[in-house]
């Protein structure tokens, strides 16, 4: 896969402690990526979505199916349910 920019927002940003980071990944879909990131530390378990739903956006496109391919993606964002308006 190669290097991907990961972005974190809201509660996920707070738990992971970063707004973004550049990471070398092997996974080809969101679900596998979340598993892969667990090796980077305890705090990444927030991405498993046990306390609240975790959404992701691949290259600025919101993804609802965690099996969606991320091959070739340059930016992947993770965030909790949106609360605009």
């Amino acid at each position: 896969m190669g290097k991907v920019k990961l972005k974190y927002f809201s509660r996920i940003r707070e738990t992971i402690g970063k707004t973004s980071e550049l990471v070398e990944i092997k996974s080809t879909n969101i679900q596998d990526l979340i598993e892969e990131l667990q090796a980077m530390g305890e705090q990444y378990s927030v991405l498993k979505g046990r306390d609240f739903a975790v959404y992701s956006a691949v290259d600025q496109s919101i993804v609802t199916d965690v099996k969606t391919s991320i091959e070739g993606a340059r930016e992947i964002a993770f965030f909790p349910p949106m609360t605009g308006g």
Binding site: K7, F9, S10, R11, R13, F52, A57, Q60, I62, A77, F79, P80, P81, M82, T83, G84, G85
Partner: protein
């Protein structure tokens, strides 16, 4: 077809009168203007110190544009304007402005509600309420 969609995701406040004056120039044949203003409200059981709105700016702007396109296809509208703020806001500060303008007011009302419903849960903004005793991320009910 509607070609007047204005979308902004911004820190700065908006000014209702100047927005209204500007839109009037583009909608001489429409008589109904529905304006929704979402503002920061105080908490029921605590004193809000401020609301912090975090945004994924570019994606938010694109998501709002998409919903405006949807609304423009569903209803006969002359103009749609959506401006959403982010950053630190105090009680009564404006958060969001949605303006829909149409010949028949029913269209403007329905489109405005549709856009607001969508904004609440499909556009990447997150609100944190920082109050005297508590501090928490707002959750959709």
């Amino acid at each position: 077809m509607l070609n007047k969609i204005i979308v902004a995701v911004q820190k700065s406040d908006f000014d209702l009168d100047s927005e209204l004056e500007a839109l009037k120039l583009k909608t001489e044949k429409a008589g109904a203007v529905v304006i929704f203003v979402g503002k920061v409200r105080d908490l029921e059981d605590d004193n809000l110190r401020y609301l912090e709105i975090e945004s994924f700016e570019d994606l938010a702007k694109n998501q709002i544009k998409e919903i405006c396109d949807d609304a423009a296809n569903k209803w006969d509208l002359e103009l749609i304007l959506v401006k959403h703020r982010f950053g630190r806001l105090k009680i009564n500060d404006n958060i969001v402005l949605v303006i829909t303008c149409s010949k028949h007011r029913k269209n403007a009302y329905e489109a405005s509600e549709f856009i607001m419903d969508y904004l609440k849960s499909n556009v990447p903004f997150w609100k944190k309420e920082v109050a005297d005793k508590t501090q928490k991320w707002v959750e959709n009910s």
